[in-house]
Amino acid sequence: MRRLILLRVRISFWLVGLLALVMMYRIVHIQFVDGDTWRSRARGLDNRTIEATRGNIYSDNGSLLATSLPFYRVAIDPTIADSLVFYSGIDSLSMLLERFYKEKSAVQYRKELVEARQKKRLYKILSMKYISHKDKRILETYPILREGRSGGGVIFEKINRRTHPYPNLARRTVGFISEGDTTKELIGKGLEFSFNEQLSGRDGEALYQFIAGGYWKPVHDVSKVRPENGLDVQTTIDINLQDTIHRVLDKKLRQYDADYGVAIVMEVATGEVKAIVNLGKNSKGEYTENNNYAVGNSGLAEPGSTFKLASMLAIFEETQVKLDDIVQTGSTGEYSFFDDAVMRDIVPYGKLTLQEVFEKSSNIGTSRLVHKYFRKDPMRYVEHLANWHLTSPIDFQMVGEAAPFIKKPTDASWSGSTLPWMSIGYELKISPMHILMLYNAVANNGKMLQPIIVKRVLRANKTVLEYEAKVLNAQIASPRSIDMAKQLLEGVVTQGTAKALSKADYKIAGKTGTAEKVIKGKYTEDHYTSFVGYFPADAPRYSCIVVVDDPKDKNDRYASQVAAPIFKDIADIVYNKFIYKPIPTKAEADSAMLRLPVIKAGLRDELDVLCQKFGIQTFTQTDKDWVQTKVQGDTVVWLENNIQPKLVPNVIGMRLRDAIFILENAGLKVSYKGKGRIKAQSLSPNTAFKKGSPILLRLE
């Protein structure tokens, strides 16, 4: 009997021994056979990049056009919270998550979280959505999550995301940058892409160790590359101007149901682009900054009559013509250069002076003049264009600039009709920015500047790099030619195609351009309309071009009806903002005080925000939350509004909402009469009171 027992024990022992062998075998197997696979999945140490903060893009006065803000994706380690915290909070957390993310039902959140906890999943994403810092603060108040990383297991994964405080404005100019889907190559547009080198900074690197509590801890004594934060880029854009022009153009484009529109405002003396609006129609029929029509390939087009300025300048440079020289445009409105090359005017003009040819934008007049003087040596004409940088890219500070398409007599496509048609802005393609550059040079008395949009590159507030507009050509034409060109441009407004613009308080000079668009090799009734010019004409400060592509209005389809009025609107805005300086009278100076809005008392933070929005200067003399105000000149000064416990607070001057908050918190029962701000309170300020006493407020 005993022997049997001992035998059976021995059998059992060998069975367990076998089990031990299996375990040993498994260890060997895991370590040696699959070892590399598993070891490669270990997460103990890691060389982690420390992302450099990308630089900001500013407007000319330091308003943010693009900046990087932290956003968070929220995950949870559901195993961390202890049972009491987890199960007492899970129901309300699920409900709050449903309300917060609006992605899943509370029941579903609860089920998923409980399941993840039971499966001992250490990582469960609550939503793929990235939330702002403000929303993060809200989430941090929710049950379980409010216990933090170590108590509730909440994990906030931070990323820096590019944000645009003015989401629509100059979007295409600001641009974007991203990594390609397949290659790691950077793709992008606009300033973000063009100035990426400065903006991006350099990522750092450090060796990190994963430690308890789910944190990455930098390992010391290991060489570490510090991240170099990106530099800031300050543009020449005036954000208010950009905003106004954006809205003006958007409204008109919708009115005309145009394909796209461009408006550029440039400072004549500096070449700085103060506003650049590109609006194209998206699939929803809305106008957005979708393409760089101003500079890029999408904006390359036959300019039409605005190009006649170049032709006239070329003639002035080559000949001794005078503005009152007579040009015969014929009585039929048609002129045949060759059999199949017939130049047409809208109406027959007969005999015109040269000035009138330009003012009325006679195609026959212009092309006949150019044909007359350059027929023998068309290369001379093209050389002038090249001299004015119209045949090559302007090397604008933005990647993706379109190269102009201008034929040379040596080209195979050059034909007998090329020169006359080129002279009126056909058979060539050029961007609006290019045309504007030429007009700006005329306004600048012949000094051609390369337009610039980035003024400086900054590190913190220190300028690292300053850009100035390059002088492309110090004198594009003789002063006489420039003077004559100016007279032509002024004439267009005073008696020519843009007569409507003569009603301004200041003088505008410019030229309309209506080009028929070629569709399937034929010129059609679809128009490319533009107006380009400068103002004030006698002392030019700003140049501007407006392009409206394919306006679909039955009556208004010419530049004089479409683009010119927009130019006027923009010019008015710019003029009133920058040029018009009425002499302030004594009375007006005094009334500055009256013009300040009525701010009497309230919560300092809120008032600060309001004043900032309205551009009112404020000055703080207290760090208390509740303030009273005093007006000093054009500045509002915050004074301390002493609210002491157990004394009746002074609420005079406040709005009712603020007053009720303060008084009820102090323990008074509020009743009120009237509307507006508080004029009187029934209990005198700073006197003692009993809790629960009634107080009557009189408002007006």
């Binding site: 367990v16 070891r39 789910g214």
Partner: protein
Amino acid sequence: MDNVLKNSRQTSERAENSYFEGDRVIWIVVFMLAAISILVVYSAAGSLAFRRMEGDTEYYLLKHASLVLLSLVAMWLCHKVDFRYYSRLSRFALLISVPILIATWFFGTTINEATRWITIPFINQSFQASDLAKLALIANVASMLSKRQQSIHEFQRAILPILFWCGLICGLIALSDLSGAALLFATCVLLMFIGRVPVRYLGMLFFIGITVAILALQIGQRKETAMRRFTNFISTDHKEIPFQTEQSYIAIASGELTGKGPGNSDQRNFLPYPYSDFIFAIIVEEYGLFGGFFVIMLYLTLLYRGMLAMAKSERAFGGLLSAGLSFSLVVQAFVHMGVTLGVVPVTGLPLPLLSMGGTSLFFTGIALGIILSVSRGEIEDLEPQTQADEEKIFRRG
């Protein structure tokens, strides 16, 4: 037979002057395991310390060290007691463990979604009732088997009472801890096998065991967990290795031959319960393949010495008690290793003597004390025993 008797007398005489009596090898093994335990738990509990005690790692070092000490004291006290007392003590323990198990089921604290703990009033220590029940059941099965050695082939008289208790206790444990219950049941079956229960009855037992398990799942709270873990384990889609197992593999693989060294585990931050359910993985990670093999050998030694104590024992009760307890301990150890090594579905079993955990450590200490007590042999002349009859039979062999 006389030889064996003489040997055992000699052993006890030799140890008479010492504070530590009984099998010295067992003592040595236990001290080694205790030392390893304190080292590994201190390291592995680092992550727990960060979560619960704001980084106060010493808190868990002190807590665990004092619990180890407490279980060593319990072991020392138990080994001083003549093992024959345990027959009656265990019957008493078994009787009270039934209401305690039921109370736990109704009022216990839920830790990790399973109601296994009941908090002892006043000292505020959570107490896992199943540990007590387990020890009591094994001692009782040993006792009942030894009493019925003469009639071991009679189903109704010999087997049925044993089955009743096994079924009842395992069933109650299964309500909240299926794998623990299954392991206990298997240990009881093994013990019955050793105790000469005919193999045909054991086959029947297997069937009963499954029935009880299914029943307990229907009533209990662990059905879903068990089903999920089981399907996870048998599913052939190896792409989805459970998170714990994957992390455990990483720990074991990155330990390589000699390990990362004490306190250098990285996987403790990823493995759930690195200080208890997955402590073996941490051992291999920090002490390498050699460390792992060493621990396995320690357990095998423990089992072997437990068997020696059985062989030396004059009484069937002592032998079966020693065998039952050492098998229970060592089998649980290997199942725990099986989990960390991916041989057994994931389940929360501590590694006896090594894992952190108050009740488990304490009752392991008691079990070892009882094994040591058996290894000492009979200490005093007790009153004529009730078991006298079967003892004689056993002696004649």
